[in-house]
Assembly symmetry: none
């Protein structure tokens, strides 16, 4: 298991990222975003970690439009054990010292310091109404632990608000909650109820599965 060659890596990534090429992967190395090992003769050898890194880069680029320079900083922050700070949407910068790490796929890893928001902070960070939040809580989509909320609650609330603008209301979203619960249940059947090394890995896998399934079932263009 000495890692994969660049061609193999290309195959693996192309399923998920249509526009990846060999030259792009090489370019990303030249920019310092990945640092694959080399064989004696100079061939690149990508470890599983290198692959994750590439996935991270490509996802951040595609889904968040981040410039490589910024992605590189995030990777550096992650390497140093921090969580990449990312600005939320245009909102008064009054409270809330730091917004949560963006919902980058595969970022289920060691979270470092988990965000803890009061209800007011959450309302402001997500820019949603108190009514909407109450409704989301009523359907179990957002849950406070103690009297505070985690960073994911921001994402849930923001997305729910956007979906509401399409006419999709919180009560239509209950199925998402049960699906997520079942998914986590499945993971815990493997890892047990405590968080382990594998927890994040498995979550990344199941979410990837979910995403691919949804995409595959969407009407074709």
């Amino acid at each position: 298991m000495g890692g994969r060659g660049i061609g193999e890596v290309l195959q693996l990534l192309q399923a998920e990222f249509a526009d990846v090429t060999i030259s792009k992967i090489r370019f990303l190395e030249a920019e310092g975003l990945v640092t694959p090992a080399r064989t004696a003769s100079g061939y690149r050898k990508f470890s599983a970690a290198d692959l994750e890194r590439l996935r991270y880069v490509l996802t951040a680029q595609r889904d968040q439009y981040l410039p490589l320079k910024v992605i590189k900083e995030h990777l550096g922050a992650i390497d140093r054990g921090l969580r990449p700070a990312a600005a939320g949407p245009p909102v008064a910068p009054s409270s809330l010292p730091q917004t949560p790490g963006q919902p980058v796929a595969e970022d289920f890893g060691a979270a470092g310091t988990e965000l803890r928001l009061t209800r007011d902070e959450l309302l402001r960070a997500a820019a949603v109404s108190s009514e909407l939040l109450a409704e989301l809580e009523g359907h179990g989509l957002v849950v406070a632990s103690g009297n505070h909320y985690g960073g994911d609650a921001i994402v849930v609330a923001q997305v729910a608000a956007e979906l509401a603008s399409y006419g999709i209301e919180p009560r239509h979203l209950r199925a998402f909650r049960t699906a997520a619960d079942r998914e986590v249940g499945l993971i815990e059947q493997v890892t047990g109820p405590r968080r382990t090394e594998q927890t994040g890995e498995l979550a990344a896998l199941t979410v990837r599965l979910h995403t691919a399934l949804v995409r595959s079932r969407l009407p074709r263009p």
Copy 2:
């Protein structure tokens, strides 16, 4: 009270955004991001709402690195989002600054060249056994359309293979299929059964919701 001239607008914005210029404001109009009124003689007149819009654009650009194209879509969504939303967030007609402006479009968009694989190609690309694939097909996780498979099938098969190494077998994954089906069903209730502009946007949103929910329910580290 009839609005401000471009020079005045420049003064107001420069306090907050160091790099704004007159030519940039004009450029943003040319790109369709603002549409100030005009005087009889052709001078631009910016209303308060136009100013908010500019602030939104400049903030999104500076803090989220969003490309103008995407910001424009967000603005369009906000404009349209005022309509249905029973439980939607209180985005009043001209009070833009509070918005759920998170990155919207994931790569559920126009795929361009959709991958079409034969069964053998799929087996090779995903590096899985014919038995596993057959099992996945049996449970409806991978579906051939005609006699070929899409690129997502590679991801599904790869992930399923990895999950199998944790003891999670295809039959445990049926729930993912039904969840995905329901999710797509929900989207199609909004967009209709044909693929539209919104299809990809909605899919990106629901997948983001799913991901955030799973993460929020994972055991805390």
